[in-house]
Amino acid sequence: MLNIVIDGNKVKAEEGSTILENVQALKIDIPTLCHHKELTPFGACRLCSVEVKTNGKWQLATSCNTPVESGMEIATSSDKAKESRKAAAQLLYYKYPETQAVKEIAQKLGVDVSPEVAEGHDCILCGLCVRTCQEIVGVGALTFQDRGRGRDNDEPKIIFDPNVCIGCGSCAYVCPTGYVQMETDGDRRIIWDKVFKMVPCPVCGRFFAPEDQLKYISKTTGVPFSELATCVDCR
C-alpha cells in the first residue's frame, strides 16, 4: 500500500491503482466519458483531470490513466482542475452540441448549454467501442482511422471491419452517445450496417445470438457449436 493525499486527506492506495480509482473510492464525483473500469484507460475525453503534485510541482493529470505514486498529493476540486474540466467539456459541447451525453456533462460542469433537446448521436471518438472489441471481445473489428499526419484535414473516425465482426453488440452497449446502433429483429441483427443471421434456440425457439458469435465462441473455447446453439435458459 502507498500513502497518498487526496484533497488534504491521507489515504492508503494500492500500488498500481489509478488516481480515479482512489478518488471514486472516496465517493468524490469525477466526470468521465471515455472511461470504463474493465478497459485500458484511454485519457481521451480529458474530463477527469485533477491536479497532482509530483516533485514539488502541481500539474494537471487525467486521473483515469495516471497511476498513484507514493507521497502523491492530489487536488480534485482546485480551481485549476475545475476550470480545466469545464474547458474540456466546453470544447466537446462546441463540437457535439446535439449529443445528449456531452450536453449533460457540459451542463454539470457549468457550461452554458442550449435549452433545446439534443437529438444527435455523434461519435465523440471516446474509443470505448474500439477497446471493448479489442480487449473484451478479442476480435478487433473496430479501429481508429485518419488520426494524425498524412490524413490532411479528414475527420478522424472509427472504421468497421465486416470480415471479422461477430455481431455481439458489445460496442453498441458501451457507446455513450447512441452512435453505434444495433437493431435486432427476429432472425436478423443489423449492426454497423452489417446483417447477421440470428440462431433460434431449438428448445424455446427464441432467436438468442448471432451465428457468427456462437461460431467465434466455439472456436476460441473449443466447445462444440451444437452445444452453444441452445440458449442458456434451456441448457
Binding site: G43, A44, C45, R46, L47, S49, V52, T54, Q59, L60, A61, T62, N65, T66, P67, K80, E83, S84, A87, A88, L91, L92, Y94, K95, I124, L125, G127, Q134, G140, T143, F144, Q145, D146, R147, G148, R149, G150, R151, D152, N153, E155, P156
Partner: protein, 632 residues
C-alpha cells in the same frame, strides 16, 4: 544570428518593433538556406519585418497544426477548430475583443490538458501572436485589415524524425501501430525505407537517442516497432509494393545492389522508370547480405525484401562486376542516368609489420564476413584475435563464436568509452564469452612457416582528443607484450573499391566519390553516387537515404527540373518544448533474446521481436513530439 523585429522563440521575447537599437537574437530558422522573413512554429513567433501580417500567419499555422492534431483527446483538435472559427468570424467582421481573450483561454487550456506533446506545445505561438500583436488582431476585428489567405510554406518534424538519416515519419508509423493499423504503418515506413525488416533489425537507431522519453524513463523501442510492422506483414501475406502510376521511357543503371542501390531502384521504379542493377557478388543486398551475420539479420528477411523490389520490375544482374565504367557505353545501351553505389568492401590496412606477407591466418574483417556469408567454409582454430572496436569487429567476433572458435578476443586501442560499436553488440559479445583487451594494439604479426602464431602488441594510454573528438591513443614505451594466436582478423574500417571510369569523377582523400549531399549528383553529368562509396563506411539507413535522395535527384535531372530544396533543422533544439505535461513513467516493452548458451554452433537470430499486442502497447508510450512550422 539574424536581426529580428520580433521573436518569442522558446518563450524568450525580443521586441525591436519600436525602432530602438535592434537587439540580435539567436534563432536558427528551420528553413532552406535560413532565409526566412516570417515564421511561426512550436517554439514561438519570429518576424524580421516589423509590418509582418501576423493574423494571417496565425491562420496559416493553425491550418497546418490541424493536420497534425490526431483528435484522440478532446481538447487539441476541437480547440484548433474553435480558434480557426473565431479567426474566421473576426475576418467576417463579426468578431469582438472578447474573442481575443477567449483565444488565449483556449490556448492555455489546450496546452495544459492535451494528451500528447504536440497538443501541449503547439499552440503557444498563437498565444504570443494574440498577446504581442494585439493591435493587428483588433484591426482585423474592426475591418481595417483583412486576412491575406496565403498558403505559407510548412514543414513537420520531431526530434526522432530529425535524428533519422532518412527522416522517417516515426510518430506517424508508431501512431498507426498504436491504432492496430500495421499494414498502413508499413506503407508509411516504406515511403522512406524500402527495407523495413532489415532496418528494423540492424539500424543503429539514432532516433532512439533523440527520443524525448529517453530523459524521462526509456526511449521508445522505435527500431523494434518498425520490425513489428514488417514482421506483421510477413506473417499476414506480405503486401507487395504498389505499381508505378505511369510508366516512363527512361531507364536508369545502378551499380551495386546494396541498401543505397536497392533504395534508389525501388524509388525510381515507383516513379515509373526502368531500372537495372549490376551487382558483382552472387547475392544482392550489399553489406546487408555479406557484412551482417545471420544471427543479427536472417538471410530470408533480406531475400524477401529484395524479392519485393524485384517483383516491381527491377532487374538485378548478379555476378556482373563493372571493372571499367564507360558512361558512353551505358548511354548507348539506353540508360539515361547512372547511380554508382558500389559500397566500401575493401578492408583498411592496420599498418603492422607482416601484414603484407600473405600469412595464413591473417584476414581482413569485411573479407572474413563476406566469405562466411557467401558460404565459404571457415574452420575454427584455437584462438582468434580481432583487431578493432567497431561493429564489423564485433560482427567478426560474435560470428567466430558461432563458427565454433573457443577462444575469441578483441583487441582495441582505446577504452570502452570510445568504442564505436553499439552497446547492444558489446553486451551481446560479453554474454557470449568474448573477451576485450582494451588500450592495446598489435605492432607485428608473428608467423611460423607462413602461418600466424601470435602478435607482438603494445599497451596504449589515452592522450589529447583527436579530430574525431575521441582521445588519441598513445603507445606506452616499454610495454610490449606477446599474444599467442592462430588467427588475426583486422577490422579497422573499410574503403571503396571504385571501378575505373572513362571520365574523371572527383574522389576524396579517403577514396570516396564526391557527390552533392542533396541530389547525390557527381561532377559528371548524369552520374550520381551514394552509399558507402560516397560517405565511407556508414550505416544502412544512411545508405538508404542516399538512395532515396539519388532517386529524387535523378528524377529532377531527367525532367530538367531543379531539385526540391531541403529544409534543415540543424542547430535547432527540437527536444525543447514550452509546455510539457506530466508523463507517467513506464519502461519500454521487452523482447526475448536467445539463450547465450545456445548461440555457439549456429546462426539463429538472437533478438526476438514484439508480438502485435506488445507493439501496440509500446506504441502507446510515444509522446507524439511533432513540431510544425510555417514560414515565408
Amino acid at each position: 544570428m539574424n536581426k529580428v523585429a520580433f521573436s518569442s522563440w522558446n518563450g524568450k521575447v525580443v521586441d525591436n518593433r519600436n525602432g530602438k537599437a535592434a537587439k540580435d537574437v539567436a534563432v536558427n530558422f528551420p528553413a532552406p538556406g535560413g532565409k526566412v522573413a516570417l515564421m511561426m512554429g512550436w517554439g514561438g513567433l519570429v518576424a524580421t519585418d516589423s509590418k509582418a501580417d501576423i493574423p494571417s500567419l496565425t491562420v496559416g499555422y493553425l491550418k497546418e497544426a490541424r493536420k497534425i492534431s490526431c483528435g484522440e483527446c478532446s481538447v487539441c483538435m476541437i480547440g484548433i477548430d474553435r480558434l480557426l472559427d473565431i479567426m474566421g468570424r473576426m475576418a467576417d467582421g463579426q468578431g469582438s475583443k472578447a474573442d481575443l481573450s477567449e483565444m488565449q483561454v483556449i490556448v492555455k487550456q489546450v496546452s495544459a490538458n492535451s494528451k500528447c506533446s504536440f497538443g501541449q506545445s503547439a499552440l503557444y505561438p498563437v498565444l504570443d501572436a494574440v498577446k504581442y500583436y494585439k493591435a493587428d488582431f483588433v484591426a482585423l476585428i474592426t475591418g481595417e485589415k483583412k486576412l491575406n489567405g496565403k498558403e505559407y510554406q510548412s514543414t513537420v518534424t520531431a526530434p526522432c524524425m530529425d535524428a533519422c538519416p532518412a527522416g522517417l515519419d516515426i510518430p506517424g508509423y508508431i501512431e498507426l501501430i498504436k491504432n492496430n493499423r500495421f499494414e498502413e504503418s508499413l506503407s508509411l515506413i516504406r515511403q522512406d525505407c524500402v527495407l523495413p525488416g532489415v532496418i528494423g533489425r540492424t539500424c543503429t537507431h539514432p532516433c532512439e537517442d533523440a527520443c524525448v522519453r529517453k530523459d524521462i524513463d526509456e526511449s521508445l523501442s522505435i527500431r523494434l516497432l518498425k520490425r513489428a510492422a514488417a514482421d506483421f506483414d510477413l506473417a499476414n501475406g506480405a503486401k507487395p509494393f504498389g505499381a508505378p502510376a505511369k510508366e516512363k521511357e527512361e531507364k536508369v543503371a545502378i551499380i551495386g545492389a546494396g541498401p543505397a542501390g536497392l533504395a534508389a531502384a525501388c524509388q525510381l521504379r515507383l516513379k515509373g522508370y526502368g531500372v537495372t542493377i549490376f551487382e558483382s557478388l552472387p547475392h544482392a543486398g550489399g553489406m546487408a547480405a555479406v557484412g551482417i551475420p545471420d544471427y543479427r539479420l536472417p538471410a530470408d528477411i533480406l531475400t524477401h525484401e529484395i524479392d519485393l523490389i524485384k517483383r516491381m520490375g527491377v532487374e538485378i544482374k548478379l555476378n556482373t562486376k563493372i571493372e571499367k565504367l564507360s558512361i558512353k557505353d551505358l548511354k548507348k545501351q539506353g540508360y539515361s542516368a547512372l547511380f554508382v553505389a558500389v559500397g566500401a568492401h575493401q578492408g583498411n590496412r592496420i599498418g603492422v609489420e607482416g601484414e603484407d606477407e600473405g600469412y595464413e591466418g591473417f584476414v581482413d574483417g569485411v573479407k572474413f564476413l563476406r566469405d562466411m556469408n557467401l558460404g565459404i567454409k571457415i574452420e575454427p582454430v584455437g584462438k582468434v584475435m580481432i583487431v578493432g572496436g567497431g561493429n564489423v569487429a564485433l560482427d567478426c567476433a560474435r560470428s567466430c563464436v558461432r563458427l565454433g572458435f573457443k577462444n575469441v578476443e578483441i583487441i582495441y586501442r582505446r577504452s570502452l568509452a570510445e568504442m564505436p560499436a553499439s552497446d547492444e553488440e558489446i553486451e551481446g559479445a560479453k554474454e557470449e564469452g568474448i573477451s576485450i583487451r582494451f588500450l592495446s594494439v598489435p605492432v607485428k604479426i608473428i608467423a611460423k612457416n607462413g602461418k600466424v602464431t601470435g602478435a607482438e602488441c603494445i599497451k596504449m594510454k589515452l592522450g589529447k582528443p583527436d579530430e574525431s573528438g575521441r582521445r588519441r591513443p598513445v603507445p606506452v614505451k616499454g610495454s610490449e607484450f606477446t599474444v599467442k594466436t592462430d588467427m588475426i582478423i583486422a577490422a579497422i574500417g573499410q574503403r571503396p573499391e571504385l571501378p575505373t571510369m572513362d571520365a574523371m569523377v572527383e574522389t576524396t582523400a579517403w577514396g570516396t566519390i564526391q557527390a552533392d549531399p542533396a541530389t547525390m549528383a557527381t561532377e559528371m553529368e548524369g552520374v550520381f553516387a551514394g552509399g558507402d562509396c560516397v560517405s565511407g563506411p556508414a550505416t544502412l539507413i544512411e545508405a538508404l537515404n542516399m538512395g532515396n535522395r539519388a532517386a529524387e535527384g535523378i528524377e529532377a535531372y531527367l525532367n530538367g527540373n531543379a531539385p526540391a530544396e531541403q529544409v534543415s533543422f540543424a542547430g535547432v533544439d527540437l527536444a525543447k518544448q514550452r509546455g510539457q505535461g506530466l508523463v507517467v513513467k513506464c519502461p519500454a516493452a521487452d523482447v526475448d533474446f536467445l539463450d547465450p548458451k545456445k548461440r555457439s554452433g549456429g546462426f539463429e537470430e538472437v533478438e526476438g521481436g514484439f508480438i502485435a499486442a506488445q507493439a501496440t502497447q509500446e506504441a502507446r508510450r510515444c509522446l507524439r513530439c511533432y513540431r510544425v512550422v510555417v514560414w515565408e
